[in-house]
């Protein structure tokens, strides 16, 4: 639809990047949630009495009614696998030789996304009870990675 002829010497594309570098605060609820993981190795939720809903990870507000939440509950470190996947691609899209086992583990009415460890792929199933395996306290910095992974509950 153009009347103009593209210069045959025109470069096909111009390369560049979008330089975005960020620092994120953990916020009101995240501060206490991750401090507790770091210092005590416990997982906390917050309960909304109005909606009778327990948020894990702990949230400062109820996403359903927007009320402020200040009823904190310790939900333990054992939860059940709601769903899982074997991930064969890395962050940049390149293939992974050995898949990562990733799961959503239920706590309260929420839960955590994390890796499963100390388990073979064929042992993973929905409903499996798994427990948080924390890094040693000295190595914890207040991060989701303070939990190394979740592994099957040893009976």
């Amino acid at each position: 639809m153009t009347l103009l002829q593209r210069d045959p010497k025109a470069p096909a594309s111009w390369q560049g990047e979008l330089p975005v570098t960020n620092r994120y605060t953990y916020g009101l609820a995240g501060e206490k949630f991750f401090r507790t993981i770091k210092d005590e190795g416990h997982i906390l939720g917050t309960h909304c009495p109005h909606c009778d809903h327990t948020y894990v990870p702990a949230a400062a507000f109820c996403e359903r009614c927007l009320r402020k939440l200040d009823e904190w509950v310790d939900v333990g470190t054992i939860g059940d696998v709601v769903t899982y996947t074997f991930l064969y691609v890395s962050l940049d899209g390149s293939p992974l030789e050995k898949p990562e086992i990733v799961a959503f583990i239920r706590f309260g009415d929420g839960g955590l996304i994390h890796r499963l460890g100390e388990i073979e792929p064929d042992q993973v199933e929905i409903g499996l009870m798994v427990e948080a395996v924390f890094k040693p306290k000295s190595k914890r910095i207040g991060s989701i990675l303070d939990i190394k992974h979740f592994s099957p509950v040893k009976i």
Binding site: T2, D7, A10, A12, E17, V20, T21, R23
Partner: protein, 171 residues
């Protein structure tokens, strides 16, 4: 109602709160790499810059010449009919003396960005570029300037093939 509001939320932190570890935080960086298709208009503009020419395009309907060149006119919405090589000189439409870089570093010698209305294009049609070889105190709106090009063998087909614009010495 609203007038009852006494306390407004919002917790203000200092940089010290971060360095002292008073609060938790983390970092991340986007790996966002792009290769934007230059197309007909901008592709030809870049090829011309490599050849040492500033290229515009002509709208037969509005009878104006614009720069950078495009394949259609945004005001009458009709196709442009030809590319027009422009002069590599122009008039300073406006400028600044900037003592801060894009990533907020202080500099002693100011950068002098300007909008330069390019000779051969319609009035008020210019490009953004830098001014150089000039005492910052002497820059004026309306000043005549000319492009200083990189040596031909170093040009890459980029707006940076022009190093900057310098004053034209009036005879």
């Amino acid at each position: 109602m609203t007038a009852k509001i006494k306390e407004f939320p919002g917790i203000s932190l200092s940089e010290q709160d971060f360095t002292d570890g008073k609060i938790l935080f983390n970092f991340d960086k986007l790996n966002g790499i792009y290769a934007w298709d230059t197309g007909v208009g901008i592709g030809s503009y870049l090829a011309s810059l490599k050849a040492g020419v500033i290229l515009g395009s002509h709208c037969p309907n509005c009878r104006k010449i614009v720069v950078p060149p495009r394949t259609f006119c945004e005001f009458c919405y009709r196709p442009m009919d030809e590319f027009v090589p422009l002069n590599d000189s122009g008039t300073v439409n406006t400028f600044s003396l900037c003592y801060v870089t894009w990533d907020v570093k202080r500099i002693k010698q100011p950068e002098i960005p300007a909008v330069i209305d390019i000779d051969g294009a319609s009035p008020l049609h210019g490009i953004m570029h830098m001014l150089g070889e000039i005492d910052p105190k002497k820059v004026k709106i309306g000043m005549r300037v000319k492009a200083v090009w990189k040596p031909a063998e170093e040009r890459q087909g980029s707006i940076n093939d022009i190093l900057y614009f310098k004053p034209i010495k009036e005879v």
